[in-house]
């Protein structure tokens, strides 16, 4: 009991601190101006500085089998400095060529005190800015030499683009959910997993993240915005007799407590997971397959995020080590003309679904905007930060990062839509027809996926991998659908793209955290169910460890069956 109260205490704390927070912006403003004056006078003058200060408050709560296992909270304040010497044409952020495999993430980030004590914050900002300047002049020197000794770049665009100063300040929001209420709810939901002693792992968890972001730069921008999120997960896993671990989960995303799912929904979801896991555990192992498949909206969203989304992030087109898949695709047809792809960070909702890639200003102080990437199958645009690429000089508000990383262009709310849709039943019929045409006994239906990954470099094959959790065989001879397990969806981007042939009239949404060079950022991917004429699956890596030797210790003498 006491345990819980302590944390409620901490959350109260956070509220009482809020009133003074506008001071932060003023301290940052006066320090950035003072530093800029001094650094403009140096032999290597600074031409631009920005400070991004992020207040991060997190609460994590999780329950297993009816008992709270974890309840903790944390608070930190991170300062990110973008300090540039040289000129917009060529500065210290320029991509170094042939740096080899040395993987160095330049993290100009520093921690600040969490209290609003002017002197304490000033001192840390001062010391951090000085370090950032020293590191900038060192990089700039190296870059000047690098530019001289290496071949001329294909893309000679500038390193930085102008963006007019922005002033924006919103009331800081902070989520304080009723922990006692939610503790009881997740305890009751997690207790449902007691029903199946063969579910070896299960958890219901809530993570609350309150981000308050402050941004100032030497061009005169001042932005203050809140990005609160709440995520709720129900996850469980079982083990097949052959040792394969079989996880399944359900996740929920909300901006505030009132949007969180109620207990009834959660109970239903947990019960559904229990039933499905029982079936998956008994399901046959799928072997290698190549043939037609349907991706549910959610699965299609993740599929697009991996095979497409990461390849249209602007800065990759400038990186000589990147495969630059869509470099010369502007105004080219790259996919079936029924498909449109856009990114829209200005939306927090799509057809009644909350979507998590929402923000008002990106992490470079640029206003968010909708970007149409593919219109009727024709490639139109890239996701841009303030680092220009040839032909695309301006940011379109996609310079993003996790606090502590350098902002680069990243995805937001990926939205796939189709000009021509069929009913889901029709899509299923088309799958069966296509399978028959290809001489297959069945097609595959990917209902739920866990996530995926891809490579975009030149030294590694440009494949992607999407990890399905729930896959059905849809037989051509009318037999009922059958759950199968043990396969990953794989492929290469351009080939897979050319195989998309139809879309349904539904919409599936996947909310998640995308990890890349600028850290983890919240994104979403939404799509109708898609029919793909040829997909390929490979066997999943599998645990070699057997199921437990002994039976559940108390299953026989309690109501656990």
């Amino acid at each position: 009991m006491i345990y819980i109260k302590i944390f409620i205490g901490i959350i109260f704390l956070n509220v009482s601190l809020l009133s003074q927070n506008s001071d932060i912006l003023n301290v940052a403003k006066s320090e950035i101006n003072r530093s800029f004056v001094e650094l403009k006078k140096q032999a290597n003058p600074a031409y631009f500085i920005s400070y991004g200060i992020t207040d991060i408050k997190r609460v994590n709560l999780s329950s297993t089998l009816g008992k709270i296992v974890r309840l903790d909270s944390s608070q930190s304040r991170i300062l990110d400095i973008d300090l540039r010497v040289g000129s917009k044409k060529l500065d210290n952020t320029h991509t170094m060529k042939s740096e080899g495999m040395f993987f160095f993430v330049d993290r100009s980030s520093y921690t600040l005190p969490i209290e609003n004590e002017k002197k304490a914050i000033e001192k840390q900002i001062w010391f951090s800015t000085d370090l950032a300047y020293k590191s900038a002049i060192e990089s700039y020197d190296k870059i000047l030499t690098n530019v001289k000794v290496k071949v001329t770049e294909e893309d000679t665009s500038d390193d930085f683009s102008y963006y007019p100063p922005q002033k924006y300040s919103e009331k800081l929001i902070e989520n304080n959910i009723d922990l006692n209420k939610w503790k009881s709810i997740i305890n009751r939901v997690s207790a449902l997993f007691n029903k199946d002693p063969k579910i070896y792992f299960s958890q219901v968890s809530i993570s609350i993240e309150n981000l308050n972001k402050y941004f100032v730069n030497t061009e005169g921008s001042e932005i203050q915005q809140s990005q609160p999120t709440i995520r709720l997960f129900i996850s469980a896993s079982t083990k097949a007799e052959d040792g394969m671990d079989l996880p399944l989960y359900e996740s929920y995303f909300a901006f505030n407590e009132s949007q969180m799912p109620n207990e009834e929904i959660l109970t239903k979801a947990a019960n559904n997971i229990i039933v499905l896991l029982g079936k998956i555990r008994e399901a046959p192992m799928m072997s290698t397959y190549s043939g037609p498949g349907i991706l549910s909206g959610e699965a299609a969203g993740v599929f697009f995020h991996e095979i497409f989304g990461h390849r249209i992030e602007g800065q990759r087109l400038k990186d000589p080590d990147d495969a630059q898949t869509f470099k010369n695709s502007i105004n080219q047809k790259i996919i079936s003309d029924i498909i449109n792809v856009s990114f829209d960070p200005t939306l927090n909702e799509l057809n009644g679904n909350l979507i998590s890639g929402y923000y008002k200003y990106d992490d470079e102080g640029v206003k968010s905007q909708r970007v149409n990437i593919v219109e009727n199958g024709i490639f139109k645009n890239y996701l841009m930060s303030r680092a220009p690429i040839q032909g695309f000089e301006q940011s379109n508000g996609h310079g993003r990062r996790q606090a502590g990383y350098k902002a680069v262009s990243r995805q937001s709310n990926l939205i796939i839509s189709s000009n021509k849709v069929v009913s889901t039943q029709e899509l299923r019929n088309m799958l069966i027809a296509e399978a028959k045409k290809q001489g297959k006994d069945f097609g595959l239906y990917f209902v739920q996926v866990q996530g995926g990954f891809t490579f975009t470099g030149r030294s590694i094959p440009n494949s992607f991998n999407v990890n399905p959790l729930l896959v059905y065989k849809v037989y051509t001879d009318g037999r009922p659908d059958e759950i199968v397990r043990g396969v990953d969806l794989i492929g290469t981007p351009l080939t897979s793209f050319s195989q998309i042939s139809a879309a349904a009239d539904d919409l599936g949404v996947f909310n998640g955290i995308c990890g890349a060079e600028s850290g983890g950022v919240p994104v979403s991917a939404s799509s109708p169910s898609l029919l793909i004429d040829k997909i390929e699956v490979q066997k999943q890596s599998k645990s070699q460890s057997k199921t437990p030797i002994l039976d559940h210790p108390t299953a026989s003498n309690s109501n656990i069956k």
Binding site: I6, F12, K67, I114, S545, I549, P553
Partner: protein
């Protein structure tokens, strides 16, 4: 403000958390699952476990960090963890003392390593514990039989010379070693940290950090030999660090640390304020101090904190008995640094006027609390005072239940995963212990004999742990890891023939080994009691660093011959921007 009060009151209550823990239920669940595992846990054709240990730990960790008068972090964590240790084979030859690279390096996921530190609910009950113990025992057993078969394979084609058993049998013990309810007011330490850190705000220090930590744990333990105990442990400490640059760019640092098992035995706020003041002052003095013109070779006197740090860094880890681990590639070499005494039992390791004892059973010396005090070790073995070095000769080493060829019995030094020093006290005979003045005079006369214009006193050396928890956190690579060595002492003084002392900066100390301690010619006549947190010496195969409270009690030490030289490295440039 209002909130901090709420927090404080609640934290005060958390001490009751331990009282709420349900021991009977825990022990009953442990006994039942242990019995089932001992009799039924078996894979066809493979051996059953012969020894099982269940360890349930309830933790309460409080930490505060402040910088220039403002809070930097403030955390309270309560959790409960469960670990299972399992041995298959028998006492003479089992799955331990073997390093399986595959299992050790790729410990991930629920099944590999899923029996160590499993987080469990604080309000665990019989059923939830049984269930966790069931899965953890299963995972631990599978790993144990696999490791045993690898170990058996590794010796198949070898003639084994050392047939020392893997584990010693122990008679069952039952004890309860719980602490009185320690009164603890979290808010008080939040304020102390803020107040102390504020002393640095208007100083020339570039950055500074003041941290406080108080950790409390209760362990509920059961093993299959019948040993059963409940044991409380606590430790607390305050650390302060600061740094700046001299005009020539040389980075200089200073720190303060104090530790006590009970936070109420930490120094008063007034004396902490004095300490932080003196750190600021000394840092400024250091930044303006002269450097050493040329290398020096001659007598060096180590006093106060430097004597403690020197002894703790160079000598005491060598007192730990270390069993070389067998691997599929032969015997595993252990870091040479800590092995100097392993084959020296009976040999001389110090001058004949010096002796060393481990005194874990002493709570205080001269009314000062010792950090390495405890009643029982983690095996449930009663702590023992041990004579390590008598009149210069090494008698024995500090041991756990893992026997060595020459030491079969545990002397109660197993803490946090392996044998580790406790309170280590160095003493001298009367004729060689002198006052500070006499030590200085002796040094000066030695200098005269060698035509040296001055002698050297080292009074402060960076503490290894504080270097990471303090200096590295605030200085952003200004100090390389080189600075975390004896070779970069903080406070060094020239001592002139008239006795005058002059602070110098930027000196590098020539390396000192345990053998160098044979050349101590005189020691001081008072004790330097130095408490600190020590990293584990024995590698338990998990590669998780653990820290234990340790204390050394040493006199000032005069070495006949040592070396220092000026630091002639390149230094970072001074700040381009003026301080706000």
């Amino acid at each position: 403000m209002k909130k901090i009060i709420i927090l404080a009151i609640l934290c005060f209550f958390t001490s009751n958390l331990f009282l709420k823990a349900n021991y009977d239920e825990a022990i009953r669940a442990m006994k039942d699952e242990m019995q089932r595992s001992l009799t039924e846990l078996k894979i066809e054709n493979l051996t059953k476990p012969y020894y099982i240990e269940y360890i349930l730990t309830i933790n309460n960790n409080n930490s505060v960090a402040a910088q220039s008068g403002a809070l930097k972090s403030n955390n309270t964590i309560n959790n409960a963890k469960l670990s299972v240790k399992m041995r298959v084979g028998d006492y003479s030859f089992d799955n331990t003392n073997f390093l399986d690279f595959v299992i050790s390096f790729f410990r991930m996921g629920a099944e590999d390593g899923g029996w160590i530190n499993i987080q469990i609910p604080l309000d665990y009950d019989y059923n939830s514990l049984r269930r966790t113990l069931w899965l953890a025992s299963d995972a631990a057993y599978k790993s144990a039989v696999e490791t045993l078969s690898k170990k058996q394979a590794a010796i198949k084609n070898k003639i084994i010379n050392d047939t020392t058993a893997d584990f010693t049998k122990m008679k069952a013990v039952h004890f309860v070693d719980t602490l009185e309810n320690i009164s603890y007011n979290h808010d008080k330490y939040v304020q102390i940290c803020k107040n102390l850190s504020d002393m640095f705000t208007n100083s020339d220090a570039y950055s500074s950090l003041v941290t406080f930590e108080y950790n409390k744990e209760r362990v509920i333990y059961l093993n299959s030999e019948g040993t059963q105990y409940i044991k409380d442990e606590s430790n607390s400490g305050i650390e302060m660090s600061a740094f700046m640059q001299s005009n020539d760019g040389m980075p200089v640092m200073n720190f303060y640390s104090t530790y006590a098992l009970n936070p109420n035995n930490l120094p008063s706020q007034d004396s902490l304020k004095k300490a932080s003041n003196s750190i600021v002052e000394k840092l400024g003095e250091l930044a303006n101090a002269p450097t050493l013109a040329e290398a020096y070779s001659g007598p060096i006197l180590f006093t106060s904190q430097a004597a403690g740090e020197l002894f703790s860094q160079v000598v005491i880890s060598n007192f730990v008995a270390q069993r070389p681990l067998m691997t599929s590639m032969g015997k595993q070499q252990i870091s040479e640094q800590t092995l100097n005494y392993q084959n020296k039992i009976g040999g001389r390791v110090l001058p004949e006027f010096l002796s060393v004892k481990a005194i874990p059973r002493e709570e205080k010396i001269n009314n000062q609390y010792l950090f390495g005090y405890y009643k029982y070790d983690d095996d449930g073995v009663k702590s023992q005072n041990v004579e390590l070095v008598k009149n210069g000769y090494l008698k024995t080493l500090l041991t756990s239940r893992v026997p060595l060829k020459r030491i079969q019995e545990s002397n109660g030094h197993n803490r946090n995963g392996g044998a580790i020093p406790s309170n280590i006290q160095m003493t001298s005979d009367k004729s060689h212990s002198k006052s500070y003045k006499q030590l200085k005079d002796k040094m000066i006369s030695l200098c005269k004999d060698r035509d040296l214009p001055f002698g050297i006193v080292v009074k402060k050396i960076i503490n290894r742990n504080v270097f990471y928890t303090g200096i590295m956190q605030i200085s952003n690579s200004m100090f390389s890891s080189e600075y975390n060595k004896l070779t970069h002492p903080i406070e060094v003084y020239k001592v002139y023939p008239n006795g005058k002392e002059e602070l110098i900066r930027g000196v590098i100390l020539g390396s000192l080994s345990p053998q160098s301690f044979k050349d101590i010619i005189l020691v001081g006549n008072s004790n330097n009691i130095y408490n600190f947190l020590m990293y584990n010496v024995v590698e338990d195969g998990t590669y998780n660093p653990s820290i234990s409270p340790v204390s050394v009690i040493v006199p000032d030490m005069l070495f006949e011959d040592a070396e220092i030289k000026p630091n002639e490295n390149d230094f970072p440039k001074l700040p381009f921007i003026s301080q706000p």
